[in-house]
């Protein structure tokens, strides 16, 4: 019997506090698998956000630093400047990265910081109880848009991958989804490429990962994956937006 799948040693044994079926757990695992396969677990420094993944440093078997809300790219910039040869990444939710931290992410990309940002887009503020995020979909009911998000009041959902792709300093931008085994496998490939971009010192990398939040969407974990397919993927198209020749 040969192993086809074993839980990566990139994840610590501690159980997560995530809700049942929350795909944060899959996203963590994919990043750690990719680093482990490249032998980089001991060479990486991650920056955790404020949000449900605030305790990512309890789960990821690498050196990590906690950040203030939205400021992970600024802290990662500091780490990069004193550790020019480490792999440095941020892991951030959509409240963190696309709302309070928009300035930090845009300017990290603009400066072409040689870091990677993994952006978990679950279309809601999870940790604080399901408030509307800039990424919440039109008509989506949240605790702060009880009749559904309205364009007249809140505009249309923000497509961060497309926005970041317009910035010259960002050399790798891809959007992936965790709604199915096939898409999870594709997400892993994109994460590997993003890490390669850093190994080759090519510039800023950004991977937007569509994720679920069954608890705050008010559905079962399985229905949440269906909701992603039916509602999120049509608005947030999957695929690579930008990739340097060296990692194609």
């Amino acid at each position: 019997m040969k192993p086809v799948f074993e839980y990566t040693r990139g994840m610590l044994p501690e159980e997560t506090t995530y809700c049942p079926g929350c795909t944060h757990g899959i996203a963590h695992r994919l990043i750690m698998e990719a680093l482990d396969e490249k032998g980089l677990l001991g060479e990486t420094i991650g920056v955790a956000p404020i949000g449900c993944s605030i305790l990512a440093h309890h789960y990821m078997n690498i050196d990590m630093c906690e950040s203030t809300h939205g400021r992970a790219p600024a802290i990662a910039t500091g780490i990069r400047r004193v550790h020019p040869d480490k792999i440095v990444f941020t892991y951030q939710g959509d409240g963190d990265l696309a709302s309070i931290g928009t300035g930090e992410i845009v300017h990290a990309a603009h400066r072409g910081e040689r870091i990677t940002s993994f952006f978990i887009n679950n279309a809601i503020y999870g940790m604080t109880g399901g408030q509307m995020a800039p990424t919440s979909l039109l008509g989506q009911k949240t605790t702060t848009s009880m009749d559904g998000r309205m364009q007249e009041l809140s505009g249309k959902p923000l497509r961060m991958a497309e926005l970041i792709a317009t910035i010259d300093g960002a050399v790798f931008v891809e959007r992936v989804s965790l709604d199915s085994p096939g898409n999870v496998r594709k997400a892993k490939k994109a994460i590997r490429k993003a890490i390669e971009v850093q190994e080759k010192k090519l510039g800023f990398g950004f991977v937007e990962i569509l994720s679920s939040c069954a608890t705050n969407w008010g559905v079962t974990p399985v229905k949440a994956l269906e909701w992603m397919r039916e509602n999120m993927i049509p608005y947030y198209p999957l695929g690579n937006l930008k990739s340097p020749e060296e990692v194609k």
């Binding site: 019997m1 040969k2 192993p3 086809v4 799948f5 074993e6 839980y7 994840m11 159980e15 997560t16 995530y18 809700c19 049942p20 079926g21 929350c22 795909t23 944060h24 757990g25 899959i26 695992r29 199915s180 085994p181 999870v184 496998r185 069954a214 079962t220 974990p221 399985v222 994956l225």
Partner: protein, 78 residues
């Protein structure tokens, strides 16, 4: 067709059923009576002989509760 073996770490399971929903052979389900110490019905396989070792269940498990092994047996026409 390759033959598979799935092992569950029942204590880690949160009963989310993502594994149940993606098994192409429909042989994963939540245990009907057993509970783990968190109070969830852990996932299990009801017909291991049908498992093809595709690892879809493990790939979707957010909680690292599943390991998958595979044995290459003679190709059938399945």
């Amino acid at each position: 067709m390759a033959k598979g073996l799935v092992k569950f770490n029942e204590e880690r399971c949160k009963g989310c059923e993502l594994c149940v929903s993606v098994c192409p052979k429909k042989i994963v389900m939540l245990h009907e009576t057993k509970l783990n110490s968190k109070g969830y019905h852990p996932a299990c396989v009801i017909d291991i002989d049908s498992c093809i070792g595709c690892a879809n269940c493990a790939v979707m498990c957010p909680d690292g509760a599943i390991s998958v092994y595979q044995e290459d047996v003679e190709k059938s026409d399945e």
